[in-house]
Symmetry: C2
Subunit: 230 residues, 2 copies
Amino acid sequence: MAATQTARARVRAELTNEIVSAAREELASTGAAGLSLRAVARRLEMVPSALYRYFPSRDALLTALIVEAYEAVGMAAADADGRSGRNPADRWNAVCTAVRGWGHDHPNEWALVYGSPVPGYQAPQDTVEAALKVTRVIAGIFADAIPSGTPAPGRLPAAPDTMAAVVGPIEAELLPGRPPEAVAWVVMAWTGLIGMVSLELFGHYEGATTDFQQVFAYNMGALGHLAGVG
Amino acid sequence: MAATQTARARVRAELTNEIVSAAREELASTGAAGLSLRAVARRLEMVPSALYRYFPSRDALLTALIVEAYEAVGMAAADADGRSGRNPADRWNAVCTAVRGWGHDHPNEWALVYGSPVPGYQAPQDTVEAALKVTRVIAGIFADAIPSGTPAPGRLPAAPDTMAAVVGPIEAELLPGRPPEAVAWVVMAWTGLIGMVSLELFGHYEGATTDFQQVFAYNMGALGHLAGVG
DNA sequence: GTCTATAACAAGATAGAC
DNA sequence: GTCTATCTTGTTATAGAC
């Protein structure tokens, strides 16, 4: 029985993967909002109802796609970080480039996770944890660059006394012992990275510059520098 | 004849507005991707084909909505700027608050313009011009704060020599005579503002902080300060 | 001329019987 | 798993009212 079980389980896992792959292809052609279980089934030459054995609803399939996308960006970021030596500025630069590169290679998956929320879809907790992967990589770089217990970096304006409590959750989880200005500014660095790639992919810099890549590199560099990296 | 003409034109303009309003209401409930001509017609108790007298296609209606949204944020930004005195730091702060406030009041319209592109929709030139409204307000504040011909602000890292040409289009149009570092960083300020509101509205800061408004205020303040405002 | 309504089309989604 | 009947969608052709 054990052998049968595992064989069945293996086939099941394989098919589950195939379904997610087909859904990913669908996503690439139709966008997130128009993703339908039926289209995925058609692509696999299966009947729609058969998919329900593997995913109880369209939302469950969507969740799988979202988690997969978050893990892929997170992996791209972590890989780039790992390959880039020990200098925090280099690491931050490498991560920015990798995240942007991933976005360019997977624009629809990027839109799925960082774009408008899909109407009617409620994100379960799994996706929140997966989303943290990139954040952890980024926070790790800044945590290494800013020694614990240092005063606020002089380049940044002083934060009000209340800020420490406000950013407490992030500090405790990702940047223990770092000053509130630094914590807030790491949030800004993350926001700047995701925001800039989003606005680029969504077409908002069209015609604004002759070489966007260079503006991106400069701005990410400045963002990191001001936070204490390099 | 002139009277008849204008009477007809007035009625026509009124109905056009009513259609856009109905579409806006539809948008609020179903989201951008699910916006259907038929649903708009139903809401107005008209027959779908009648709408084609006013808008040649669903995309044209979408364009009208997008332009309207861009103009509304732009107006909110310009109003806040106008009411906030002459101090650039106050003006930048007021604009950030106003833009964020508009986003909170109109989350679906925000997603329509700054979120994922609607699949299959090609933005015409009208939307690009409308999108520039907020940008012009922001650039105006920084242009007033950074005198023309000044050297690069010392707080920002120096840009490579090639940057001047790269950001030339923005410089010429919005920040004539300002150094490339400043131009790039104004792009960053704009990106930070739009990015932070987007990620907030799309739920990416959920649980991260006890008072997001404060983090927002601090980060926007720092972004502006570093660019030379305040 | 200007508008609205009816009807139809090809897609595609959905529900349910078998 | 299959089949069918019924529902959407954007869009057009056509006919008639003002």
